[in-house]
């Protein structure tokens, strides 16, 4: 056993490369996803969806559907009228539409049948009569129109289509802009994109007359638990939510979804288990993907390149429901204020309802789009001053143990090492400007949160709890509500007892994400899980470690240590730990949104090649450096960096979740037309880990799952500019757009 470090870490498991503990099951096909679950007498349900983008429901006629042999039960919106929504202040969703539909694909009714095919056929037989309403597809139009209300139930104070507007200013922005030596001013547009998890949403419900159990492919079992209780009118003490193995989520499973309520209600109505599995097309309707944003940025630099002022106006196309939209509006502004020091800053972000599938949180929620715009504008402003893009970023480093312009406290900050790392690895100094026309390098930086101080619903309880039980066999069981969505928390929850107690990580059983068995964790969002569950697990393990150390030597066999400690204690060895929400953030309204106990930092250099004849282009390579504080399992950190880079590059290259404006139908509701990059379209990725050893994080760790996505898009945009001299401001960067830009430049 190695010597104990000053952070209490012994290095036996933490910091080591380790396989995911469910990796073997996934690779062999043995892992049980929600759709693999089968219960006796189980029914299959399907959803009837709106064919109209905006309409009143006049009548729903189930008579033909009910005649189909094998149809057992139907469900309409009036049976589940209670509104829900992940954010308590904007609960505007219903399990099935009651009065009106708000986008093509909005769930209207459900049918349960003996098999999936019959349920599908029955859905086509349900007749829904609509009275059409004007549909709003453009957020600017939706803002301007007050005669058409997408949500007319919100009362007298909301006679508009605004979900949330946030306007915040820090310092004399106009004055500083006026004094700036170089100003970049430009409009940017981020086209919406979706998560495209390979596992579609699936839920299975069982009702035993007293207790409801729902298995769901969710990343927020706790919020689903609360929402089921509210909507079904059941005591939360009689609802159990279990998250089986999840096949990808990326933020797309962090809302409660219609299917969870439908299977629950249908199970209660029929007394039989009911399952629903979304089709790929339905996953595109469920959406909650990255918001389209129209962004206007003004960035002013002093002649030395210091960022004097940043001013932005952002219109956010929200789609038909609020989802996390209130937070999106804040994040669009609040998360931009690092890794650079802003002299002054102002933003005005409006999140608007439109008649399209609802947007929500996608990996890097709210901040990927502004980061794209800002990092491009920064290059534009620096170029006028003749300052190298890496140099301008270095000169504006915000530092560590410092406060940002909007009052967020930054603890550790490894951004300078990130910049240095990508500068060196990419050969920036030697190669930039020497690759010839058609090939270029670009850089970008970013910052992201490791969880937020602000729980989604206000409460004084811990955000995460862990229970650890030691068995005299030497087996350790860890209970935690956290959702493993592929990021690897279940593996980490085995590594921590191994580290703290000296057991073999393979002797640790992790019981996770089951509201009956595990203490609450708020869920896999905001990059909070490793940080918060990690600290909770350490706390729980250290209590047990003290008990073991009291009666035995660290060198004793682990089972013997447990035996001695259990004999001494005279009871089962169990302990709990928690992460308690800290008070963070500034005092102004909204000052706590985006406040995080620790921030991660990233820098990327992208290399692209552009064929100036066709406009076809390729990301050849991305060097991605990420300050994750401490890599608790470097293999998993690299996996998160690679996955982030891949996703960001895909959004730059080809991803677009769009509708036909004339009818609201999705242009690409399948994975052939909605293109995500194949392995052949994916650049070489160099994952470079930077460790700043955060004083507050578990063993010094910060997040790694979302931060490394941010710089990918602007680094690519800046590289295209370097390659062929055109500045692309609309995502994705289509070959046609590149050709047009090249032509305009020649003119």
């Amino acid at each position: 056993m190695t010597e104990e470090g000053k952070d209490g870490r012994r290095g036996v498991s933490i910091g080591r490369r380790q396989r995911k503990n469910e990796g073997r099951l996934k690779a062999t096909g043995a892992a049980m996803y929600a759709d693999d679950l089968r219960l006796p007498r189980m029914l299959f349900a399907k959803t009837v969806r709106s064919t109209e983008p905006h309409a009143r429901i006049v009548r729903i006629d189930f008579s033909e559907a009910k005649k189909l042999p094998g149809v057992i039960e139907t469900l309409a919106g009036h049976e589940l009228p209670e509104r829900y929504g992940v954010i308590p202040w904007t609960q505007d969703e219903q399990a099935l539409c009651v009065d009106k539909v708000r986008f093509v694909g909005d769930p209207v009714a459900a049918v349960a049948a003996l098999d999936e095919r019959t349920a599908e056929e029955a859905c086509a037989l349900v007749r829904v009569e609509y009275e059409k309403l004007p549909a709003l597809m453009d957020p600017d139009e939706a803002l301007a129109r007050t005669d058409v209300l997408i949500h007319d139930e919100r009362g007298a104070n909301h006679q508009d289509n605004l979900t949330k507007r946030v306007q915040l200013a820090f310092g004399p922005v106009d004055e500083k802009l006026a004094q700036s030596a170089s100003i970049a001013e430009a409009d940017f547009f981020y086209e919406g994109s979706t998560h495209a998890p390979i596992e579609p949403h699936c839920a299975l419900a069982q009702w035993d007359g007293v207790t409801l159990t729902v298995w769901s492919s969710t990343q927020i079992p706790h919020y689903v638990h609360r929402a089921l209780s509210k909507v079904l009118g059941l005591s939360a003490a009689r609802v159990r939510v279990i998250q089986p193995v999840v096949g990808g989520a990326f933020g797309g499973k962090s809302d409660p979804f219609s299917l969870e309520f439908c299977v629950a209600k249908l199970a209660m109505k029929t007394g039989r288990p009911v399952k629903m599995l979304y089709t790929r097309e339905e996953v595109f309707y469920a959406h909650r993907g990255r918001h389209p944003m129209k962004m206007r940025y003004r960035v002013g630099l002093s002649k030395e390149g210091a960022i004097e002022a940043v001013d932005s106006k952002i219109v956010i196309d929200g789609g038909a429901y609020a989802s996390f939209g209130l937070v999106t509006a804040y994040y669009a502004g609040q998360l931009l204020t690092g890794p650079y020091r802003f002299g002054t800053y102002r933003f005005d972000a409006a999140r608007v309802y439109t008649n399209k599938p609802p947007c929500g949180p996608k990996r890097g929620h709210g901040s990927v789009q502004p980061r794209f715009a800002f990092e491009c504008a920064l290059d534009m402003a620096a170029e006028k001053l003749g300052i190298d893009p890496i140099e301008v970023r270095r000169r504006n480093f915000v530092g560590e143990n410092t406060e940002t312009v909007n009052g967020q406290w930054i603890t550790s900050n490894g951004f300078m090492q990130c910049l240095e790392s990508v500068e060196r690895a990419s050969g920036w100094r030697e190669r930039r400007g020497k690759l010839g026309f058609g090939r270029g390098l670009g850089v970008a930086g970013s910052m992201y949160i490791s969880g937020t101080a602000y729980p989604v619903y206000p409460n004084q309880m811990p955000q995460s709890g862990v229970v650890v039980k030691l068995d005299r066999s030497g087996r350790v069981t860890v209970y935690c509500g956290a959702s493993d969505i592929g990021q690897g928390i279940n593996t980490l929850l085995a590594q921590i007892p191994a580290e703290e107690l000296g057991c073999d990580p393979e002797d640790v059983s992790v019981v996770a994400a089951d509201t009956d068995l595990t203490p609450v964790d708020l869920g896999a969002y905001s990059s909070r899980v490793t940080y918060m569950c990690g600290l909770a697990a350490i706390e729980a393990c250290r209590k047990l470690r003290a008990q073991l150390d009291e009666v035995s030597e660290a060198t004793d066999p682990f089972a013997l240590r447990v035996e001695k400690a259990e004999a001494k204690a005279g009871t089962t060895l169990v302990s709990s730990g928690a992460y308690r929400t800290q008070k963070l953030g500034a005092d102004y309204r909204g000052g706590t949104i985006g406040a995080s106990p620790a921030y991660s930092f990233s820098a990327h250099v992208a290399q692209v090649s552009v064929d100036a004849e066709t406009g076809l282009w390729k990301v050849e390579r991305i060097w991605a450096a990420h300050d994750c504080g401490k890599a608790l399992n470097p293999t998993l950190v690299e996996g998160q960096i690679e996955g982030s880079v891949y996703m960001g590059a895909g959004e730059a290259q080809m991803e677009a979740h769009t509708v036909y404006p004339e009818n609201g139908l999705l242009r690409a509701p399948n994975l052939l037309d909605y293109r995500i990059p194949t392995s052949l379209d994916t650049p070489e990725i160099d994952s470079l880990i930077v460790e700043s050893n955060d004083p507050s994080g578990p063993y010094g760790a910060k997040e790694a799952g979302e931060g490394p996505l941010h710089p990918a898009i602007p680094a690519i945009a800046n590289a295209i500019h370097d390659a062929v001299g055109v500045r692309l401001t609309r995502l994705p960067f289509s070959p046609g757009d590149i050709l047009r830009a090249l032509r305009e430049r020649k003119c």
Binding site: E120, M654, N663, R675, L680, G736
Partner: protein
């Protein structure tokens, strides 16, 4: 997930048995790899009562050269076309085209016959029944209007087979067999410009073989495919070319075909190019193609940009054909 409509599956082990099943069941469709048919069935575009599988017909999986012809059996896998030594040596453009179809898994399911008989594709038709109903059905299936050409009376769904233009430039024909008849149809006459059904194959016929005149020494060929990503994409434009030069290095023959635009793969008329220099002929062929080809909104990719790509891809195909090793 989307479910399949019910059907009876037949697994004949000989061509005769398969033909008998086709003759016996009015509402039957052939299935080989199923990579085209199965999604179309899930989308409600096809709902045959019977499926007659060609997977058991191993006698149709072959590539060979005999009597001045190269013979390719219909159930030869796409991946085989990409890897086969004879195809790579004698018909390199076909190997190139095959290697660019779909992805590795699908190439190991899909067949040559299936690709030649691939249903036409359109952004308004290759969608679920729900989506098509929300839009309003179109004239290819269940409706009367065209969403691509608003007042159009004819379906303009796009021929999307990568192998067809190559084989057309090589002068290939296909052998169609029914219970009582065998006929040979030049590939250029196999396709008709009707997106609803763009081939002349009969309901009782099986495409059993493609026959290609053995390319004479000096014939150069290439296939260029435009797509948005490097795999799992139908052609946004496919350009096939074969050509030969005379002893002076002037153009002798050229055949040019495009796909991914209209309801059938299209030969580009290039009659006046013999005797021209390579540079002149290349520029002229590119101009001909640009004039004769008109991309539509049947594919989800900017038609203006696709049109701009036509001459570029023609030039690239010719350049690459000429730079490939001479046989």
């Amino acid at each position: 997930m989307l479910t399949l409509p019910p059907f009876t599956h037949h697994a004949p082990t000989s061509v005769d048995e398969a033909l008998a099943l086709l003759a016996q069941h009015k509402d039957a469709l052939l299935i080989a790899g199923g990579t085209d048919l199965v999604p179309n069935m899930k989308h409600g575009l096809r709902s045959p009562a019977h499926l007659v599988s060609l997977r058991g017909l191993s006698s149709l999986a072959y590539t060979r050269e005999e009597n001045g012809e190269i013979l390719l059996g219909a159930t030869t896998l796409i991946q085989t076309l990409a890897d086969d030594a004879l195809v790579k040596k004698r018909l390199p453009a076909l190997a190139e085209a095959a290697a660019q179809i779909a992805g590795p898994q699908l190439r190991r399911m899909g067949t040559l016959g299936g690709n030649l008989c691939l249903d036409t594709r359109c952004v308004y038709i290759n969608q679920t029944h729900f989506w098509r109903r929300a839009l309003g059905f179109c004239l290819k299936k269940d409706g009367t209007v065209c969403h691509v050409v608003k007042s159009g009376k004819r379906c303009v769904a796009a021929a999307s087979n990568d192998t067809a233009p190559v084989l057309m430039t090589l002068g290939a024909s296909v052998v169609l067999q029914s219970k009582h008849n065998v006929r040979r149809v030049p590939l250029t006459e196999f396709y008709v410009s009707d997106g609803i059904r763009n081939t002349v194959i009969g309901d009782d016929e099986i495409l059993v073989e493609a026959r290609i005149p053995a390319p004479r020494t000096g014939l150069c060929m290439a296939y260029e495919k435009l797509r948005q990503r490097e795999a799992i994409d139908f052609p946004a434009l496919g350009v096939a070319v074969t050509l030969s030069l005379d002893a002076q290095g002037l153009l002798e023959t050229i055949r040019l075909a495009v796909t991914g635009l209209a309801a059938r793969p299209q030969m580009v008329r290039c009659d006046d190019l013999a005797g021209r220099t390579v540079d002149e002929a290349t520029a002229e062929a590119a101009r001909h193609a640009f004039k004769q080809c008109h991309p539509l909104t049947n594919i989800n990719i900017d038609p203006e940009w696709r049109r701009e790509m036509i001459p570029i891809f023609v030039r690239r195909a010719i350049r690459r054909a000429l730079s490939s090793p001479r046989r």
